[in-house]
Symmetry: C2
Subunit: 217 residues, 2 copies
């Protein structure tokens, strides 16, 4: 499966890239923003596309063409202003959806955030603009014709993965955490599991093997 | 027709309020953000609702209930950050759409901006985040069940209205202007003209009487 990882140099993107490079089931390509990020992927034998989510749909369509699936794990991050939250997390993401539809890519895995549909929780997060952007990017994806999976983890940690997670239906607080490695494994497993198509999967740390979680999502 | 004007103290909102107060066809109510804005509407004999677009959908539903139509002409403006562009122009607007659907208001006139669907023009405007917010607010409105009219003027001026406008199909540059008073008249006329329902009307200064423009929109 040829997968384009958009935001491959981000924290989750790096783990997804590494895991895919170690598996015979995926042929990953890294969509990255800066050429100085290339060596990381050369070391993993992963080809790169250096491009920007601020490019036009037409330009992005050329970058995106020919893959079986897209994993979107890009984000403007906390160091830039909310202009970039609008331009990258919202409109940048939506432009890749339009480009995917135009170029015939149907499978699209979006890394979102738990509570992206629950406005009442946004104020307490301290990053309300980010949640608004994610909410509307996800909404656009749900309204599209793409075979999406929207993965919504709770607060992320850099702890090693456990190979098990829990569905958010059993999580009741924003404080609950999940490791980025487990999120990466949910992404890889979702790509292989048709049951996750057109589903939103809200996950936290938990006891259920990831293969089982994606099968019952 | 009982109309709630959201953003009634804005430049277009004030003109809409004044025109409605002078007509027997409308019963306007002003949705405003600050109590010091009340006297302006008292002078026009227009009742006010002081509330915030940062409130929850539940709270907004109570404020919004009972009107025949909503005119949304609020905006966070250029003096606040892009966090407010996300919170007011995008999510604030969408919350009023959800509240309208919940409370049975079907008619919704949105004041948007020309080129809100043309990404290639956004960079040149210098206010790209605003265009992204308006684009997604409009998209949400178009995807809703509301009987919307989306009015998209080109660059606004404070010149007196001419009573005539042109449809944007004949406009080819962002430099072209239109007076806020003419935009206000397009709003009032749209509310009376069923032909404008589920339409996007892009307008500039022009020679066609406004009644005729809304009939052929």
């Amino acid at each position: 499966m040829k997968v384009l990882i958009i935001g491959a140099h981000g924290k989750i993107g790096q783990i997804v890239s590494k895991k895919m490079s170690e598996s015979s089931e995926y042929e990953p390509t890294a969509f990255i923003r800066k050429s100085e990020q290339i060596p990381f992927f050369e070391n993993l034998n992963i080809p790169t596309v250096v491009a920007s989510l601020e490019d036009s749909v037409e330009t992005l369509s050329k970058d995106i063409k020919g893959y079986d699936a897209i994993v979107f794990t890009a984000g403007s991050g906390g160091k830039t202003g909310d202009d970039k939250t609008l331009e990258i997390d919202l409109d940048g993401a939506v432009k890749t959806m339009i480009a995917a539809e135009k170029t015939g890519i149907t499978r699209y895995v979006m890394v979102s955030a738990a509570y992206a549909d629950e406005r009442s929780k946004w104020d307490a997060t301290g990053i309300k603009p980010y949640y608004i952007a994610k909410h509307f990017a996800d909404k656009t994806l749900k309204d599209s014709k793409l075979q999406y999976t929207i993965v919504r983890p709770v607060t992320l940690t850099d702890e090693p993965g456990e190979g098990t997670v829990g569905l958010k239906s059993i999580v009741d607080s924003l404080e609950k955490e999940i490791s980025r490695e487990d999120v990466a494994d949910v992404i890889l497993n979702s790509l292989k599991e048709p049951n996750t198509i057109r589903k939103v999967i809200e996950i936290s740390a938990g006891d259920t093997p990831i293969e089982k979680v994606v099968k019952s999502a």
